[in-house]
Symmetry: C3
Subunit: 116 residues, 3 copies
C-alpha cells in the first residue's frame, strides 16, 4: 500500500481529550508517511499541562510520536497563564506565541484542521 | 430562494453529539440542494456505535437524511477497536479506512470542516 | 512587531465554551490587526443564549471585542428554536440564516475554522 502524505494540525484545548488526540495520530501514522508529511498537534489552554515533564501519563506516547516526526506545539499565552516555565516542558515540545494564530496560519498554508 | 450547493464534512467522535450533528444537517438541508452538494458525516471513536442496526435511537433520522443524499461514514479502525462487524451496521453506512485521513483528504478536496 | 491580518471563524455551540472562545479571541487580538482582519464568532444551538441582552455574564467582553472589530453572529434557526426574539439580542449581534451554512461559506471564502 502506498502511503499518503498529509498536512494536518490537530487542536486540543481540554486535558481529557489527550487520549483521543493521540489515538487519532497513531491511527493516522498507520497510513501516512510521517517523513513526507507535516503532522502538528497544537495544544492551548489547559491541554498544555500534559506537556510538562512531570506529567507522566502521556509522555511516552508523545515522545514516540515525536520521534516519528509528529510536531507537538504549546501556546505561550497558555503557558504564561498557567505559570508553566518553558524549561519544565518535555524536550520535544515546541512553543508558539499564540496558539490560535498558529492554527490560522497553518490552515492558510493548506493544512487540514481536526478538532477531536 | 435559490438553493446553495456545498461540500462539507461533519466530524463526530462522541456519542452524545449525535443530536447536535443531525440537527445541524437537517438545518443545512433547508437551504442547500443535497442533489448538487456533498454532505458527509464522518464518525470515529465511540460515535460509530450509533451506526449499528440495533442502535435504534437515531436510525430513522439518519436513514431519512441518507435518502436525501447525505453520506454517513464510519472509521474502520474505530469499528475494529469496538469489535463491531461491518454487517451489523445500518445499510446506509459507508466504511472508510482511517477516519482522520478521510477528514484530511476531504478538506484537501475543498470540503469545509464542521465539528459540532 | 508587525501585526498579522487574518480571516477566521470561531464556532461555538455550547454555552460553557464562551470563556474559552472569548479568551481565544482576546489572545488573537494581541497579535493581529483587527481593522485589517475578519474575525467572526458564529454561535448556534444553546450558545446563542449568551447573546441576549439580559444575559449579562459575557456582554462587557463581547461589546469590547465588537468595538475592536470582531463580528458576533447568531444562527436564526437556533434563535427560533429557543424562542429568542431578534430585538432581545445585544445590538452588536448580527443574525445569519443557518449557522452551519455560514461556516461553510466562510471556509469557502478562505477563512480558517477554529472550534474551541
Amino acid at each position: 500500500m502506498e502511503m499518503s502524505t498529509v498536512q494536518v494540525i490537530f487542536h486540543i484545548d481540554e486535558t481529557n481529550k489527550w487520549p483521543m488526540v493521540l489515538a487519532n495520530v497513531k491511527n493516522l501514522l498507520k497510513v501516512v508517511d510521517p517523513q513526507h508529511s507535516h503532522i502538528v498537534v497544537l495544544a492551548n489552554s489547559q491541554a498544555v499541562l500534559a506537556y510538562t515533564a512531570d506529567s507522566a501519563e502521556h509522555q511516552p506516547v508523545m515522545a514516540s510520536l515525536a520521534a516519528d516526526g509528529v510536531c507537538f506545539e504549546a501556546c505561550q499565552n497558555s503557558l504564561t497563564g498557567l505559570k508553566i516555565e518553558r524549561d519544565s516542558l518535555s524536550e520535544f515540545v515546541q512553543v508558539v506565541g499564540v496558539g490560535v494564530l498558529e492554527i490560522i496560519e497553518k490552515q492558510s498554508a493548506g493544512y487540514a484542521y481536526i478538532r477531536p
